[in-house]
């Protein structure tokens, strides 16, 4: 009896929770946050941050999900810092279109 009521209760509560479930993400973020975090903890990890940005950009060509706003520009900015102006402009333009 008690077991059964717990089951009923669980079912109801599951329905209740479903009603306020998180929406699925709009964007693909990959490891954008974690690699940025690692870079902020230790500046020598900038390479991994840059590699992840590029990986996300490459995925965006084949995935239906857009990549998060700002990611093209973040990558473009890292290129600009390295002095690769021509390539960086390309990614800033892509950011505009995203």
């Amino acid at each position: 009896m008690i077991k059964k009521s717990i089951k009923v209760g669980l079912l109801i509560s599951a329905l209740g929770l479903g009603a306020c479930q998180q929406q699925p993400d709009i964007y693909n973020w990959g490891e954008y946050e974690t690699t940025m975090l690692a870079y902020y903890k230790d500046a020598s990890h900038i390479g991994a941050f840059e590699a992840e940005l590029l990986a996300l950009i490459e995925q965006s060509d084949v995935s239906d999900k857009k990549i998060g706003p700002g990611i093209f520009a973040e990558y473009g900015y890292l290129l600009l810092q390295k002095g690769d102006i021509e390539k960086s402009v390309k990614y800033f333009t892509l950011e505009k279109k995203n």
Partner: protein, 224 residues
Amino acid sequence: MFHKKILSKLAIFSLILISLSACQTTNIKKDYSSFREADPRSILIVPVVNNSVEVDAPDLFLSTLSRYLAERGYYVFPVNLVKNVMEEDGMGDANLAHEVDPTRLGEIFGSDMALYVKINTWTAEWAVIAASVTVEMEYVLKDTRTGQTLWTDSQTRQWAPKTHNAGHPLLTLIVAAIQAAAVKAAPNYIPLAQQANYNAFNQIKTGLPAGPYNPKYQNDMEDF
């Protein structure tokens, strides 16, 4: 038998109560009239002011903000780029950046809004067998076209490891001490910061109305 019936009813009732409390808020709806009127589309995240003793808290926290704001439907300016540009422009000091006229930031970046965050607490407390991690922040969104404040919120999150009963008093104590030591060695603030952000921006009646890139844009008038 009678006793069992009551117990089972109680079981159902308490589970329903749990499910309701997980979602419902007793919050009073904030005044969104100026937010709705401004109808902002983009957010610039200004360097985070740190009132805690942890020096790297602002940078670490900065990396947790974009996702939550973007998923609410706003264009979020690339945080690492903005951080560097502001540093080059002499606004790298967060306290100074918070003093700058918001409309000036709007002119530089072309944003609709700026988010100002202050970290008030970012601490891990440790006392041999007990530990806790606490984060506390204040969020303010200002219109960078008019300078008007559109939205404010504050969040506190605390975490403490659960004490496990290891069956033997001494063992239980040792387990607790190990847990506390682990917190001391590497307190993990990030999940708490993420929870704080999620709550601040998503909570019905107090969060941010869906922005133009969210399917609920302008369809959430009752909630916000």
